[in-house]
């Protein structure tokens, strides 16, 4: 089983490594064009451009660049970012913790909340509670990310002044206590976390609710009810377990996507996460940074998807494993 999962995903990984090299270079324009395309950038003379090209090894042949790239992959050294003029590995690891912190916590919150509310809503299907909950959740889900963040920001930082408007911490905070630093980080992360939770909770909710309704209609749930099993056990043990497979897949995809950040919310709250980095990298054609980021994304997302495939039979013993060639087919 493990071997099959690994071989399937290993192949995809190799493919991705190749795409990671070629796709960015297929995009129109390069890093120098990006600098020139900006409204208030410098005027570059031919000499300057030539120097930049040499420095960034953009005048090498594609083959040489590819060899460098593969070599970099193997040694986890992706080179220096064109735009940030900093080693890519350093950049990624500087920004990743911020994203993990806000996107991670909000993913946990939104999954927990979405699953709980979805289960309840499905349980009370066709009662008023379900409909009200669904109205609220879907209305929330229809709000654009940016607007949710903006409204929270206006109310809680601009008008009420409860939370800071931007950044991940107070600039140049004069405190040595880890407690002070932590409180400061939480203070800054609250609004982004709430915004992200609100944005993503509705999709989990709707999936869980619809699955729950389907599971509740199955005969074994009716029979379990006949056995006089208490509501809680029925809901969390019988129903949830049967609705879990699609929810689990969604969870794994979410966890994988966690590392790709949240472009809009990070921008709105000037939060130095990976989403902002990614947007810059793609727009500025920062090849080394794109390579580094995609490498991290590929590794993590594939890992979680492979993990999901590996765990399916554990969650539902009837699954024989998606990669197996069924003999009777």
């Amino acid at each position: 089983m493990i071997k099959k999962v690994v071989s399937l995903y290993g192949f995809v990984f190799v493919l991705l490594i190749l795409l990671n090299f070629f796709l960015p270079r297929l995009m129109p324009g390069g890093p120098i064009e990006y600098l020139e395309g900006l409204d208030s950038g410098p005027v570059l003379t031919e000499e300057q451009k030539q120097m930049m090209k040499e420095y960034y090894q953009l005048d090498d042949s594609l083959g040489e660049q590819f060899l460098n790239y593969i070599q970099g992959m193997l040694t986890f050294d992706f080179g220096n970012s064109f735009i940030h003029k900093q080693p890519v590995t350093e950049l990624v690891f500087d920004h990743l913790p911020y994203t993990l912190w806000i996107v991670g916590i909000s993913t946990v919150f939104s999954l927990a909340l979405g699953i709980l509310l979805g289960l309840w809503s499905g349980w009370f299907h066709h009662k008023h509670g379900d409909r009200r909950l669904m109205l609220t959740m879907m209305a929330l889900g229809a709000l654009p990310e940016f607007l949710v963040g903006m409204i929270l920001l206006l109310i809680f930082s601009v008008y009420l002044g409860y939370f800071p408007m931007s950044g991940a911490s107070t600039p140049f905070l004069n405190t040595d206590s880890w407690w002070g630093v932590m409180v400061d980080s939480i203070h800054h992360a609250t609004l982004p976390i709430i915004s992200l939770t609100i944005i993503s909770v509705s999709s989990t909710y709707l999936l869980v609710r619809n699955e729950t309704i389907q599971v509740i209609a199955s005969p074994f749930i009716e029979f379990a009810r006949m056995k006089g099993i208490k509501h809680n056990r029925l809901l969390y043990r019988h129903i949830f377990k049967n609705a879990l497979l699609p929810i689990f897949t969604l969870m794994m995809i979410r966890i994988g996507a966690l590392f790709t950040g949240a472009i809009f919310i990070e921008a709105l709250f000037s939060y130095p996460g990976i989403g902002k980095l990614l947007k810059e990298a793609v727009l500025s054609r920062d090849y080394p940074l794109m390579h580094g980021l995609f490498f991290v994304f590929s590794a993590l997302i594939l890992f979680f998807n492979a993990l999901a495939d590996y765990l399916y039979p554990k969650l539902d013993p009837r699954v024989k494993g998606g990669t197996k060639v069924a003999k009777d087919l």
Binding site: G29, L44, I83, K85, A139, I155, S166
Partner: protein, 525 residues
Amino acid sequence: MKKVLYLLLAAVMVLTAACSPSSENATSTDSSGKKVVRIGWQNSGFPSPFTFDTQGPGGFLRNSFLFDTLTWKDDTGVIPWLATSWEVSSNNLEYTFTLVKDVKFHDGKPLTADDVVFSYDYFKKHSFQWNVDMTKVASVQKVSDTQVKITLAEPYAPFITEIAGKLPIIPKHIWSSVEKPLEYKDNKALIGSGPFTLKNYDSTTGNYQFAKNENYFKGKVTVDEVQYIAVENRMLSLQNNEIDGGMTFNYTEAKKVESLGYKNLKSKPTGSAVRVVFNLNHEQLKDKRLRQAIAYALDRAAIAEKITGNSEVMVGSAGVIPPDSDWYNANVKKYDYNVDQANKILDELGYTKNANGIRDGLKLSVTVNATSQEAELMKSMLAKVGIDLKIQTVDAATFSSAMAEGNFDMTITGHIGLSGDPDFLRLWFSGKAGNSLAGKGVFNNEKFQELANQQLTKLDEKERKEVINQMQDILAEELPTLVLYHRPFYYLYNAKVFDGWFNTAGGIADGIPLTDNKAAFVDYK
């Protein structure tokens, strides 16, 4: 659902009404009694002369806090800085600078003529990132410990502002051993002679903490600390007392914040321009009459007013140089909004209207980098004279490569720096400048190219202006580009924290219309 929204609305409205300027509780000093000024600006990179970010003027300005140049600019124009005076030889090729005595780098080592010579040589090898054309410099020699002679390869009229006023003097004792300056990120890379030292830089968030240089040669530094905070929305952050000053383009926003008790400094000269670039190789647009017809069809005053929200905004001159520049030629051909004139020319050119009033033979597109309201207005205005305009939105890099490949009909681009030295006219149309400035479409006008080279040799301002005036006349007649309007920058700040801001004559260095001039923090007068 509705109820929730109404409640939310009501809450926000009540809060809006109750909102008062938060500047009341702003103090000019922090808890330790230090005078700190916090300015909002995005991350501009590690501010060494080789690694600062060139995506905007921020990097150059952060760098200028740490390093000094031979000359500088303030509200009166060019002023001596590291050099006390300079002399120009009669052939306009040799500049001899006399340096201030006893200038010290942050590490206590003296700044001498050797460092100046070293810097110029070093930057010839490793280019400075901010618009400095070092090919113009032939050689640099030390005359004495306090005198340096710079010899140019050819006469270059804007040398004092464009090179001497921009090139930082770096310490020889540090950089002489640095082979790869772009990778040199040691703290020593930040040792200059400037009014500030960098106490802290958070590369992840992009926040800077500059501390004053107690022994600054030019005068006492009047604040203890300047911080740059990378906030997303500067005006809201200003109201929220997270910064003490910030810049905006938006007139409505500026007025609003001003009404809350903040001071508003409008950039003068306005400094930035939004303009249409025509593809001079385009089958139809290569005819200047079509370009003129388009100029007549565009109500540039309305565009300016709509987009900035301010009726006082300056409409662009057809001669490109903005009306508030010293180099402006007021007598160039004007293209006031005139639909009849535009229709007349278009008819003459044989683009006849069909039954729906659309000129079938004339389908043009305008390529814009990011969402452009100018393009939307242009589309509506050109529709009135029967031109069907398609808007094509692309990102910066695509935009620039489209320009380089001549893969466009028209584009809209915006710049700063038009108020600085007029040499930019030569650069734009020489076919050598940045893609987004002129693209591949070289302006093949012999007379113009001749004048463009001529003005470089005229060190006498009056003579030079004469040439520049002629260049503007040609531009206005030929219209390789059409400036729509000039957009002022508004700097909003809390005057209780710091009130020494001023507009630099012609813009900082090569015309940066921002207020972050280091001279504002130095008592040198």
